[in-house]
């Protein structure tokens, strides 16, 4: 498979600095609203601050890939005496939990690093985090071409999982006829 150069966008998360304010969640939902900034709803955010205040847990997690099935084997982490739940560090939009899904449709959400035209200097969550918990980094890397599941494919895949291949195929065919 051919190798291509790709820009890797990374958000470095210094969770120790997080004061738990969830400003990142609000601005994420606002940026991705349609029209942009017209509404706010952290439940739609592609970043969630996993929080248990009395257990001293503040963990910003970004939405990653959609998965049709939950993990069979699970891991629990204990770090600095704090026990994290099985899925706390996971980025997946997954049937086992209700985060990283549109609250109305249940369709998966995924962090897109606020791709925009013209491009944003940094993702919005990084811009509003005044405590430097979220730091944006870019680098170039060689990756194998075509391995990444594109966002469209992930969305269609989740629709197929939800409604079945035939329903989705019929719908696409009908829409194609309408032009």
């Amino acid at each position: 498979m051919a190798m291509i150069k790709k820009k890797i966008k990374t958000i470095k998360i210094d969770a120790d600095k997080c004061n738990g304010c969830r400003g990142c969640e609000i601005v994420c939902s606002a940026f991705h609203a349609n029209p942009k900034y017209s509404s706010n709803n952290p439940a739609r955010s592609r970043i969630q601050v996993i929080t248990n205040r009395l257990q001293n847990k503040w963990l910003p997690v970004f939405a990653g890939e959609y998965t049709a099935a939950e993990c069979m084997g699970r891991d629990k982490y204990v770090i600095d005496g704090k026990e994290y739940d099985e899925c706390d560090f996971c980025r997946a939009s997954c049937p086992s939990r209700d985060i990283f899904k549109e609250p109305d449709s249940g369709l998966p959400l995924k962090c897109d690093m606020c791709e925009d035209d013209p491009p944003q200097e940094k993702p919005m969550c990084v811009q509003v985090c005044l405590n430097d918990v979220l730091m944006y980094e870019e680098r170039e890397e060689e990756v194998e071409e075509g391995l990444e599941m594109e966002a469209v494919e992930a969305g269609v895949g989740s629709l197929i999982d939800k409604y079945g291949l035939k329903t989705i195929a019929d719908t696409v065919a009908r829409l194609a006829q309408k032009g």
């Binding site: 439940a43 001293n56 509003v128």
Partner: protein, 656 residues
């Protein structure tokens, strides 16, 4: 579609268990904005002055503000309103935390509780699903403990819960409503909630809060964001550390407590300890704080660190903020800060106000030492200072023995105990415990704020104007140079003219006319904050704050789509503030009640004080008895209030 607000309130009849989702009138938003403003209007319309605090008809309203749930930094306050069992007036303690945004996301602006539940319940609001649930198993549980128990039982880790502890259940007049790292504490909201047998309100919301002109709103927020960064990097010079920054006083960050411990009074607002902050005490207190604070935390969508997760020597964790760090130590004359961390944990689970409660306990200790309370009242009480305070706190929260009397607050307890106990009630205004401060010379600005504001708590009235004059002209010039928050340039000259000593110093300067303008500005901004539920720590409570009268109208206009300019916003704030006054007037409050404690200042000036009050009343459009005139009420579209006050004989026809 409604913008910024949701346009719906929840109306809960606790007696019948009836729950209704009621659409609100957009006209009310135009007239009163939201938050405290619209809540005052509801109380005016629906709670007659004959209603007593523990009557079923006393409404308990949990309100969000206009900007909760939007990207506006620090829009996280919840304002709780009710007729206070302590003052008999309309109280509005507020809490930060995470609750109000969650309520907006669930689709509601306010939760309005009326009547009383026959059994203990909690309210569970999950978007369109709203239910009263049995809370009999939560009775007696701590206020923090209850929040986690409810989250667990609902299997909703993201539910935000406001709960009362044992003190609220027992209708202690200083009972608070606790939520996350915050609490609505002053004047007994927890007692009214307990009287209604509501243990908690849990909320989870996953709906949208809409903005009319979102992109424009974000543009205005850029300026606010840049300014917050600037102020965090550039504290104001020449003022005390805790006044130099933004946010609520950063008590969890700062360890230097020389100012509080040496300038505020210890005991029952009794003793100033000028030499307290010795090297030894400073070291002990600093190490106690640093080893206890586990993490600095904030409220919803706020970049500051006003709160902390704490655990003293591996003891139970809780969250704390602000002056509560010191109040129990100082009231009990205990020099070990560890005591404060320990007793505040218990007090937080009981759910009591950490300003008023320590003063009640200190008041009891003084009465005991004076022989007014006896060994019989203190039977079983340990003799050491720390043990005595824990014992008294338990008695008050449980309303046992002498605690039952003390639980009504210093003013009422003093009168019930008699035998000269009234003399020891020397730090209340309008029956409410004040900060333990006793100062030298009357300060005209503080005199007006203490006397006249409906908040009855100085820390939530003051803020925009420096607490004292700068000694040198260079400092004054530096301070006024960069001060865009001012409502008018003329204030700069007032500050430049203000001296530490001499003719242009307190008590005669600022003059009554100038003092009226300054106080009016400060309370106006507090009223705007309280309608939007923006934290005063990022606005009216601090010097040179991020939010002010010039950017507020732009943010509110972009959020709501109503085009409001500065004059319009000032009028709304004035309208709501005046209606609040009329409401309290209707409950009997008047000039005779507007008195700071006699010993608040050593040097008093009775003639000047009368002149200050009269000047301020006139400035506000109130008559000489402190009642808004018909003319002013009509100007503010409150003709109906004038009619009501006249009908009741409170406002005499044509009288000013």
């Amino acid at each position: 579609m409604r913008y910024a607000e949701t346009g719906y309130n929840l109306e809960i009849d606790l007696a019948r268990g009836n729950i209704e989702r009621v659409e609100t009138d957009p006209k009310m938003t135009e007239l009163h904005l939201g938050g405290l403003g619209t809540s005052v209007k509801i109380h005016w319309d629906r709670v007659p002055p004959e209603t007593k605090p523990f009557d079923p008809e006393n409404l308990l309203i949990f309100s969000t503000g206009l900007l909760n749930g939007t990207p506006a930094f620090s829009a996280n306050r919840t304002v709780v309103t009710f007729i206070s069992p302590e003052s008999g007036l309309l109280a509005y303690p507020m809490m930060g935390g995470f609750w109000s945004a969650e309520l907006k996301y669930a689709g509601y602006d306010k939760v309005i509780l009326r009547n009383k539940s026959p059994e203990w319940v909690y309210l569970w609001i999950h978007n369109d699903k709203v239910e009263l649930r049995d809370a009999s198993h939560l009775k007696g549980r701590g206020a923090l403990e209850t929040q986690d128990l409810i989250r667990k039982e609902l299997n909703e880790p993201r539910a935000q819960v406001a709960a009362i502890g044992l003190a609220g259940e027992n209708k202690v007049f200083t009972a608070s409503i606790e939520q996350s790292r915050s609490s609505a504490s002053r004047l007994g909201g927890g007692a009214v909630m307990g009287d209604k047998k509501v243990k908690a309100i849990a909320v989870r919301g996953t709906k949208d809060v809409n903005l009319a002109r979102g992109a424009e709103f974000m543009e205005h927020m850029k300026g606010v964001t840049e300014y917050i960064k600037f102020r965090n990097a550039n504290p104001i010079p020449d003022v005390m550390t805790i006044l130099s920054g933004i946010g609520s006083p950063q008590e969890m960050v700062h360890t230097d407590e020389k100012w509080h411990t040496e300038n505020f009074m210890w005991g029952n607002a009794r003793t100033r300890r000028r030499e307290f902050w010795s090297k030894e005490n400073a070291e002990n207190w600093t190490s106690a704080q640093l080893s206890t604070v586990q993490r600095l935390i904030s409220c919803f969508n706020c970049p500051q660190h006003c709160g902390a997760l704490v655990s003293y020597r591996e003891g139970p964790r809780y969250m704390m903020k602000c002056f509560g760090k010191l109040t129990y130590c100082m009231a009990a004359y205990v020099d070990d800060l560890g005591f404060n961390f320990r007793i505040l944990q218990r007090a937080t689970e009981y759910g009591v106000d950490s300003f008023s409660t320590p003063q009640i306990l200190a008041f009891a200790v003084e009465l005991y030492e004076a022989g007014i309370l006896t060994d019989k009242d203190f039977e079983g009480c340990p003799s050491d200072k720390e043990g005595r305070f824990f014992w008294l706190l338990d008695r008050v929260a449980r309303r046992e023995g002498i605690g039952d009397v003390l639980a009504d607050g210093v003013y009422a307890a003093a009168r019930k105990i008699g035998k000269g106990a009234e003399e020891f009630d020397h730090n209340t205004i309008k029956k409410h415990e004040q900060l333990p401060l006793k100062l030298g010379t009357l300060d005209p600005i503080y005199f007006l704020m203490y006397s006249t504001n409906e908040k009855i708590s100085i820390t939530q009235i003051e803020g925009q104007w420096p607490q004292s004059a700068f000694p040198t002209m260079e400092q004054r010039e530096a301070f006024v140079k960069d001060w865009p928050q001012l409502p008018d340039e003329k204030f700069k000259q007032y500050l430049l003219d203000w001296e530490i000593r001499g003719e242009k110093a307190i008590p005669f300067f600022p003059t009554p006319d100038i003092a009226a303008e300054i106080v009016d500005w400060m309370e106006m901004l507090h009223n705007i904050d309280d309608a939007c539920c923006i934290c005063a720590g990022m606005s009216s409570f601090c010097l040179k704050p991020p939010y002010h009268i010039h950017n507020y109208p732009k943010l509110i206009s972009a959020a709501t789509g109503m085009d409001i300019d500065e004059a319009g916003l000032k009028k709304i704030a004035n309208r709501s503030r005046t209606l609040h006054r009329a409401l309290n007037n209707r409950r009997g409050m008047a000039r005779a009640d507007e008195k700071p404690p006699q010993d608040h200042w050593k040097r008093r000036f009775p003639d000047l004080e009368e002149q200050l009050l009269s000047t301020y009343y006139k400035f506000k459009g109130w008559n000489n008895d402190g009642i808004p005139t018909r003319e002013r009420l009509e100007e503010l579209d409150l003709g109906y209030a004038a009619e009501d006050l006249e009908k009741r004989g409170i406002l005499k026809n044509g009288h000013d």
